[in-house]
Symmetry: none
Subunit: 471 residues, 2 copies
């Protein structure tokens, strides 16, 4: 803890001119080698790796491995039963008493559908107007390759990497890291360290880098009703059961018109923001109008003021409908009673909710409301996670951003997103932070036309160079 506070005060005191000199040389190298670094990302994005559809995962793992080996990282592919291989790498520091930085990334990406909405081929990345388009250009291949490029810059310029590095790159993050849990628990010794750099690291609408110190949890489930072997002519409507109506009837018991979740006990363990967290929220930059525009959404669900809206985003759990499918969804009309219906839902959990507890409460709700004909499929469970701002990793990330941008980053006590972070914070007792990433609010993670700005990519590499020298 004393060590962490030392680093913290170092940050407050600013950095010496000497260090600034060193970095500006390294940073120039980044600017000069933009094309090379973009090409490296293009190469990785060109390799499809869709975990939800089991496409290209083996090839992508091999490619990641070979890119790491080129940097002198010792790698192994660790097979995980019923899941894609984990790429694991180690780089030993030449310095005495070096600390150990654990790094987490994932090499899988989201499905690309609807393909018709992409303006470029999702797996043939293209730079258009200073933006690199492609599935995974940000999430998470862009972040991974930016880290590679930072190491390459240091090595090419004869600078050493100060910490030991233990790097884990998994292949099923986009389907909920279902088997990564087991992997981590079985390989705790590979993942010991003094802090962890997670994936992520966005920018504000003004371009200020952001650091997130927590994630929400997730319960992803599917409700399914099947009433027969074929769709019926809808003239049988008065006597044929309708599975879509059945799901509507269930859904209306789950959430009211105002978004309040009606599942008994759902809010029992919800933690409100602490006074310190409230202070961060007040000091951070954000612009909801710009966020809304970047999301290309007609309106946001507002609180009393912007601070309340942003607090809701971070501290409210949800019961989201991610997909609803039933019957005829083509052009025009077709008169049928569908044979089946399903709804995919993700419930985002905040500290201190527990995924297993919420899943049990959902199951009890369905049973207690008499929906015995509704099948519940559980796709993934994830607990929320949080790391204190005083930790070494958090302080170092803040410092790196200050060095490159001259300003302090926005520090968020949690992210609205989810990842298997609790595995690291809870099971490995690793202080874990997200920052120094490549994206901005318009990046469109998970959506068609995912992209990053090349300027942000270079800025991330520069900050990561500092991290590998300062941790």
């Amino acid at each position: 803890m004393s060590k962490q506070i030392e680093v913290s005060s170092e940050t407050s005191a600013g950095t010496s001119n000497e260090k600034k000199e060193d970095f500006s040389q390294l940073w120039s190298y980044v600017d000069q080698n933009e094309t090379k670094f973009v090409d490296q990302l293009v190469r990785l994005v060109s390799q499809p790796s869709i975990s939800a559809q089991n496409i290209g995962l083996k090839e992508c793992a091999e490619l990641v491995r070979s890119m790491m080996e080129k940097l002198g990282i010792k790698t192994q592919l660790i097979s995980v039963p019923n899941a894609p291989d984990v790429v694991y790498g180690e780089l030993r520091s030449s310095e005495k008493r070096a600390r150990t930085l654990v790094i987490y990334n994932h090499y899988d990406v989201q499905p690309v559908e609807p393909l018709s909405e992409w303006k470029t081929d999702p797996f043939k990345p293209e730079v258009v107007d200073g933006k690199l388009f492609g599935r995974g250009s940000g999430d998470d291949k862009g972040e991974l390759v930016a880290r590679f490029c930072a190491i390459e810059t240091l090595l090419d310029n004869g600078s050493s990497i100060r910490p030991n590095i233990r790097w884990v790159v998994e292949g099923e993050e986009e389907t909920g890291s279902t088997h990564f849990h087991d992997f981590v628990l079985k390989n705790k010794s590979l993942l010991r360290g003094d802090g962890c750099l997670w994936e992520g690291g966005d920018r504000s609408t003004k371009g200020t880098p952001e650091i997130h110190l927590g994630t929400k949890g997730l319960v992803y489930i599917e409700f399914k009703v099947k009433v027969g072997e074929k769709d019926q002519h809808s003239m049988y409507g008065p006597i044929a059961p309708n599975p879509a109506w059945r799901l509507v009837n269930l859904l209306k018991t789950i959430r009211d018109d105002k978004g309040k979740i009606l599942i008994q006990g759902f809010y029992d363990d919800v933690a409100k923001p602490t006074p310190q967290e409230k202070k961060f929220l007040r000091n951070n930059e954000y612009n909801l109008k710009e966020l809304r525009e970047a999301l290309k959404i007609d309106y946001l669900i507002q609180g009393k003021n912007d601070l309340e809206t942003i607090t809701n985003l971070l501290y409210n759990p949800t019961a989201n409908i991610a997909g609803f499918g039933s019957g005829y969804v083509g052009e025009g009309s077709k008169t049928i009673v569908p044979k089946e219906a399903f709804v995919k839902m993700d419930y985002r959990l905040v500290a201190n909710m527990r995924a297993k507890d919420i899943l049990a409460k959902i199951k009890r709700h369905v049973r207690n409301h008499g929906f015995t004909d509704v099948q519940l499929i559980s796709h993934s469970l994830e607990d929320p996670a949080k790391t204190p701002v005083e930790s070494e990793i958090a302080q170092t990330l803040i410092r790196c951003t200050k060095l490159v941008t001259g300003k302090r980053p926005n520090v968020w006590p949690t992210s609205p997103g989810t990842g298997p972070l609790s595995l690291f914070t809870d099971k490995l007792k690793l202080k874990t932070a997200m920052g120094l990433g490549v994206s901005y609010p318009g990046s469109g993670f998970h959506a068609p036309n995912e992209h990053i700005r090349v300027e942000d990519y270079k800025q991330a590499i520069k900050q990561l160079i500092c991290l590998f020298r300062l941790f």
Copy 2:
């Protein structure tokens, strides 16, 4: 009306031996000429005429016309803007004070896909085990040619056709008769008459011919909510509006758990079955267990007993969800807030509801419940139609079945399905009935391997012979 009652009592009194004699001679002719009559149907089925794909319609219209001309029917092809030609034919009776029978058929057929599921070529009709296979063998070419064969039998045997005949054969029934409405309204004078024989006429599972005296109406609409230009990462769930939840919130105001429709005034004009209709329902043959098995559905929504269940099927209006689409509907999971959601609904209307009135009530409901963000797209409107069982056309059909089978047909005051029947009953003031058809529950209209039984075909021709002598 007095005339109708006269016919009705004639039916009740049975027919004279002399008439029975006449018919049995004509019926023998049908049996003796089975091959010829089957060949005529083969010829028409061999001509593809798929309105949804604009295949062979002109050729088929010409063929129908030439078949009618051979029977001495004066024909014309009437062009309809943006639609296939209507074949129109007239046959004048030699009798004084002859009544006029209007006949409706269509010469177009459904697409044949999936072709791989056909055991024969859909346009090379074959008789296998007493069944004639081919697209349109039943719907509606089988019914049309059976009517030709009845006329041919009468002419070949020196019997006259008693009524004047006005025959309309359209070419876009399978795509919703979209332009046929205009045709009818512009050509009312061509379609005046004392009764109309519609297409249709099925058999019960026990082989008893069925007569239907009405159709349900239909309001087919789509609700659509769009909240932005792209799907969002579902981490934005607390502040991003969810269009699928929006539709769930609307739908729950439309219909309760038990299927009762909550739109104000929806049931205002619903006609309950009359005592006479109830009597028919009690006397008709039906087997709900066999129906459920044929539909391959797990269960039916039951009334207190089978009679109530079948009454519900015919007399209950519906608010059916025919399709619901939003967000991610592929395998596994994807964490998004969808950019849009839509639900396709067909509302089946019973006598005396009116489609325009119900559409207006739905619009008012959406507005009054504050769903100003929900777009309502109207796909089709059709009024219900009903012809009283006392009408001359209904009584004559019943009588024809009794003469040929020795038993009374199942008489259904309405069908659970929908068609442009109200055009004839309401706009042309024509009493219109469906019966004396060629199909049975296994015929598979619209499906691969559509077929009819040759015995049913001959039985239909025999009944139609009676119709052309008795109307």
